[in-house]
Amino acid sequence: MDRRGAVLVAPAVVAVLFVLGAGLGSAVLQSVGLIPLVGDPALQFTGYVGEREVLAAVGLSLLIASASTSVAALVGLSTALLLVGSGRGRRMLAALVTASIPVPHLVGAASVGLLLSDSGLMSRWLGVPAQAWPSLVAGAWPTAVIFEYAWKESAFVALVVSASLASRLPDYQETAALLGARPWARFRHVALPLATPALLAASAIAFVYTLGSYEVAWLLGAAYPEPLPVLSYRLFTSTDLTARPDAMAVAVMTTVIAGSVALTALALLRRTAAWR
């Protein structure tokens, strides 16, 4: 019995171990200066010593990730429930969700920028002059960044949750309705528990991904402060190659934070009874 399980996971686990090991291992080694691009290997920890920039970056990253994931979870859940049910507009909604998922974040960010910037489509259509439009893009609050992540991740959450609900929810809801449950009770006691495992998993993946992705904040965010991946990317692409270890150090820190979140999510998932 155990053998069969091990054989089933073997391909996935071996591949992941190799890629993660090589990638993360190299990143860590580079961050402490042991595989420098220039100069001799010398152990150094300058990248890890806390700087004002890094602390601000961590705070901003967590803000963006939690805000966008919360919105995405809410919107994605509502969308999934509507998609699984019956009714008008369902097909149109399904088409739009389907069209949103394949959009790469780079394109999505460019598009949201064109939409929400001072002289973007929204301000033009609403007739608001550019100076009066609130600073959604590159403003003090990362509004446009959060909106873009929330939009894309909500489509992803909707897909995952609706895929897990599709085969079961209609029957359970029908039975509950036959037994006299009101809509709110049906939601709280049937739909929500059924959707929770998939919702949690999708939200966790979305949160962790947002923590580590840089393109959206790069295009739509303010120049200062910048979230962790943007800081890391900027240091990484610096003309001075001796900044590489610092870039890798920030990347490793990002990974540690993201990893902790992932582990916490897994622990939470295990608590939900249906997930074993």
């Binding site: 171990l17 691009l37 002289s119 120049a223 200062y224 610096s238 003309t239 001075d240 900044a243």
Partner: protein, 407 residues
């Protein structure tokens, strides 16, 4: 599971631990006919910035067929930033490979300097190119790239000039010097900004301003030294901090790159923009992205200028073919076609006094761009570029002493 993990760890450590193989590039001692015959049948991968459709069309439709006639297949790999090509070269270098995927890179000063820092370029080859005889051997723009000796490690391709661009419909009385530009900014708040360093264009704007604040480029030594930096930069940061409240968004944030800056200009939120590659302006006005009243703002004291080059990585497999392509790109015919604003509009690196009579006449016959003045006009009183060591110092200083301070 444990065995697999330790095996993987072993492989990783063994492969990653050794220091990068240093050592350049063997000097090429082949004669040109030998190089030409070696190049036949090779495929050269040119990694170049793909954001300019005219440039892409020139390479695909003009340079590549010309290369094919010499027996070389030229393949263009579009990148969003030359740093990506550099990353690939650096990885190949660290892995000790000599059959690399990058054969030719369109580089500019700071990327070239980064490559030199890592010993990534093949050297000593560009002086052997036959078409180098059409260039002026004493031209400082060609012998030094951002203060770094070229040393035959790259062959020149275009010349460029940092240019301010303005909308003549909104600015009827344009300023004539950089100081007047700063005064204009303060008199018209919210209508000007610059990309945040380390963006290439933002970075050169800060360097240009360093010249202004220091009273001229003669007062700033080209080579970097910490003392001069500490002496000259406080005035620069102070000026930029004082300027900030008059900038777009009160100077609390800046466009991420020149594309974002140009978008603001195109939408009419700014009255000025800037570029280090004025060749693109003609097409931008032509296709309607920029308003038809867009004009170049010449400064009396001149602006920073440089040349961009083609470099061959030390890890390249098809370096003979790459040399052939570089030589082809340097030929008077190709330089002339490339300088036509209808094709690409890039300024030539050739010295017109060394061209044959017919070539010279062909150059003279090139049409003028309605937007961009000729190179002689644009490059009048051209300022030299600073050494590349200034660049990260200034970029970091800007973030620390201007951006962080004006929040």
């Amino acid at each position: 599971m444990r065995r697999v993990a330790s095996l993987t760890a072993g492989i990783v450590l063994v492969s990653a631990c050794a220091a990068p193989i240093s050592g350049s590039s063997e000097e090429t001692s082949d004669s040109w006919p030998e190089i030409r015959s070696k190049a036949r049948g090779q495929t050269v991968s040119l990694w170049m910035w793909g954001g300019d459709p005219q440039g892409n069309a020139y390479v695909d439709d003009v340079l590549a067929p010309a290369a094919r006639q010499a027996g070389v297949t030229l393949r263009r790999v579009p990148v969003a930033d030359t740093k990506e090509a550099l990353n690939r070269v650096l990885a190949e270098k660290q892995a000790g490979r000599s059959d690399g995927e990058v054969d030719l890179v369109w580089v500019n000063g700071d990327n070239f300097a980064t490559g030199v820092q890592a010993d990534a370029w093949r050297c000593g080859w560009s002086s052997a190119l036959p078409n180098m005889r059409f260039t002026d051997p004493d031209d400082p723009l060609l012998t030094e790239d951002f203060g770094m000796q070229v040393d035959g490690c790259e062959s020149p391709w275009h010349k460029a000039q940092f240019t301010l661009v303005y909308d003549s419909a909104r600015i009827t009385d344009p300023p004539g010097t950089m100081s007047e530009v700063l005064d204009w900014i303060e008199a018209n708040p919210g209508r000007f900004t610059y990309p945040a360093p380390p963006d290439f264009t933002g970075s050169v704007f800060v360097r240009q301003l360093l010249y202004t604040v220091s009273g001229g480029h003669e007062n700033v030594p080209a080579t970097f030294d910490q003392e001069t930096f500490d002496e000259l930069t406080p005035a620069l940061w102070q000026r930029l901090r004082d300027l900030a409240p008059s900038l777009w968004r009160n100077g609390r944030t800046y466009p991420r790159d020149s594309v974002a800056l140009d978008r603001l200009f195109a939408e009419g939120q700014l009255d000025m923009t800037m570029t280090y590659g004025p060749a693109t302006l003609t097409e931008l006005v032509e296709e309607g992205t920029f308003p038809p009243s867009t004009r170049v703002l010449p400064l009396e004291e001149g602006t920073v200028g440089n040349a961009s080059f083609l470099a061959i990585p030390a890890t390249s497999a098809d370096h003979a073919g790459a040399m052939l392509v570089a030589n082809l790109a340097l030929s008077p015919t190709q330089q002339r076609i490339k300088a036509d604003p209808r094709v690409w509009g890039q300024f030539t690196v050739l010295d017109e006094s060394r061209l044959s009579g017919r070539d010279k006449a062909d150059f003279d016959r090139l049409p003028d761009s309605p937007v961009v003045p000729s190179y002689t006009v644009l490059a009048r009183h051209a300022n030299p570029e600073l050494a590349s060591a200034w660049v990260p110092a200034l970029d970091e200083g800007w973030r620390r002493d201007v951006l962080a301070e004006v929040q």
